[in-house]
């Protein structure tokens, strides 16, 4: 397989996690501009675990995702009690705070005569687990997609579950959801924790693919994009955000002839879709229509 293609596909896979993470919050009616914070937290935490503490990859990734989920819950407890715009602003502020903390965060140990670990704004080099263990780019890509498939399965189960309907009820009308006896704040905090976990998986994968993370890549544009993926692809199914990622990373960013115009085209796409399909390409109505079609064909 062509190296460039493997790189692009791996990128699509990793960014899909953060897109799904923002999508989960859109489902419960919250707009977060800060999912990149949880992506970053896990990138650092899992990198520290494998490169500095000598952990294996999978425990390291699980640890990173768990730290990200815990951070998300801690952010959610004070902010989700307030309604509306405040949550969005708080997530944005938190993400910038995380980025600035990583700008000054120094924690290094000596391994084989070399200093390893986060070094403030110079970033965190030598997260070399993948290379030291001879995992090829294609194998790593398959690992990314295996995890993505597992997370997608979890989303589909969620959408069919009681928890999934609770999330949708809260997203459509939180006050009416409260009147049905739902503790809206508790479920929103749960959703944020789950979203942190999903973003964290992506962040851990990212750190080990690039072997190098620096604070500035976790800026607000990553968060805005991950939010936009769900809005472009559609909020009716978890496939929606993946379509958004595929359009942006797979098409606009990766085809060299048009990558210079990426931001223009992407911004225009968001604007057009918000006007004509405010809940994305695969919105609830489209998903219902497809479901009915499939059912009729089977019947």
């Amino acid at each position: 397989m062509d190296d460039h293609l493997v790189g692009v596909l791996s990128n699509i896979g990793m960014i899909s996690f953060i897109a799904l993470s923002a999508y989960l919050l859109l489902i419960v009616g919250e707009i977060s501009f800060g999912q990149q914070a949880f992506f970053a937290i896990s990138a650092y935490a899992s990198g520290i675990a494998t490169a500095m503490w000598g952990w294996d990859f999978w425990p390291g990734l699980a640890w990173g995702a768990a730290v990200a989920a815990a951070a998300a819950v801690l952010v959610g407890i004070p902010t989700l009690r307030i309604r509306g715009l405040y949550f969005s602003i708080a997530t944005l502020a938190f993400a910038e705070m995380v980025r600035l903390v990583f700008e000054v965060f120094k924690y290094q140990v000596e391994i084989d005569g070399e200093m390893v670990g986060p070094d403030g704004s110079d970033g965190f080099r030598d997260i070399r687990y993948i290379f030291e263990n001879d995992i090829t780019a294609v194998e790593y890509m398959l690992m990314i997609y295996g995890l993505l498939a597992a997370v997608l399965c979890a989303f589909f189960l969620l959408e069919r579950s009681r928890l999934g309907s609770i999330f949708r009820m809260i997203g459509q009308d939180p006050v009416l959801a409260q009147m049905q006896g739902i503790d809206v704040t508790a479920y929103k905090i749960l959703a944020l924790g789950m979203a942190g976990l999903v973003a964290g998986i992506g962040g851990g994968l990212y750190a080990h693919l690039t072997t190098f993370v620096e604070p500035k890549i976790f800026n607000v544009m990553l968060g805005v994009h991950s939010l936009a993926y769900g809005l472009i692809g559609g909020l009716g199914t978890a496939f929606g955000p993946l379509i958004g990622v595929a359009i942006d990373i797979g098409f606009l960013e990766s085809i060299r002839a048009i990558s210079g115009y990426r931001m223009i085209a992407f911004g225009g796409l968001v604007a057009v879709l918000l006007i004509f399909r405010p809940r994305g390409l695969l919105d609830e109505a489209a998903v219902n229509w497809i479901r009915l079609r499939l059912r009729r064909r089977h019947a």
Binding site: R162, S165, I166, R168, M169, Q172, D173, V175, L176, A177, Q178, M179, Q180, G181, I182, D183, V184, E284, A285, N288
Partner: protein
């Protein structure tokens, strides 16, 4: 069954309820009438726990409701059919009904399914539209769905906020027929209405709420219907 005592609820500095006292008896239809802005919806939202009163108490079979979250109030056995906020528009009719039984779904799924069937029997139109998104229903159908959803919680007390608002006359008749049916089946109902004429026909007891205070408390017939209607639409000041 429900004892409201000295309830004061404010929006910022404006007191919408200025010390409301009233009571709802078990197995009865109790009606709250009053002009726009009298505080009727505010009172309903306060009972349901969505608004917090600054003073007063609300007892429900001896349990104090003030300070409870809305979900705790629902757990006590009170269901609200809200005004203008009837359904989850992007969920289908069946999902909306199941939403009403949210607290019961975990433990008594079989019974919930039986209740679902019962609701479809009572409201055949909802059965026809079971898979349709609730947002596409007509206003009257949405109102029916909202009532049916509230009943799915098996409430001991049903609060209804202006169920006839904005409905065609035939639909209004239908809604009041449903209210009578529910009462016959033993449901206690606390009803907020603007349609005084219809409300006086079903109510066992009614209260007039004017400018945040209860100004009349009695049975239909104790006050001439003309006067009730005038005060329910315009308030007492219109008299002088």
């Amino acid at each position: 069954m429900l004892e409201v005592r000295g309830i004061v609820t404010s929006y910022g500095k404006i007191e919408a309820l200025r010390g409301v006292d009233l009571s709802v008896e078990e197995g009865r239809i109790t009606c709250l009438l009053g002009p726009n802005g009298a505080g009727k919806t505010t009172l309903m939202m306060t009972i349901a726990g969505i608004l917090n009163p600054s003073r007063g108490s609300i007892g429900f079979d001896g349990v104090e409701l003030v300070g409870l979250t809305p979900s705790r109030v629902v757990r006590q056995g009170i269901a609200l059919v809200p005004e203008n906020r009837l359904v989850f528009p992007d969920m289908n009719v069946r999902e909306n009904l199941l939403a009403g039984a949210f607290l019961r779904l975990a433990g008594e799924r079989a019974e919930v399914d039986r209740d679902l069937d019962r609701m479809f029997d009572r409201f055949p139109r909802l059965r026809e539209r079971a898979e349709q998104n609730a947002g596409t229903l007509s206003g009257g159908e949405q109102q029916m769905l909202a009532v049916a959803r509230a009943l799915m919680a098996r409430p001991r007390l049903l609060l209804m906020d202006e169920p006839s608002l904005g409905l065609a006359p035939l639909m209004v008749e239908e809604i009041f027929r449903i209210i009578r049916d529910l009462h016959r089946d033993g449901t206690s109902i606390f009803l907020v209405e603007q349609n005084a004429h219809m409300a006086l026909q079903v109510a066992h007891r009614f209260f007039l709420l004017e400018q945040g205070r209860v100004t009349f408390d009695g049975t239909p017939g104790e006050l001439a219907e003309d006067e009730v209607i005038q005060r329910a639409y315009l308030g007492s000041r219109a008299n002088g």
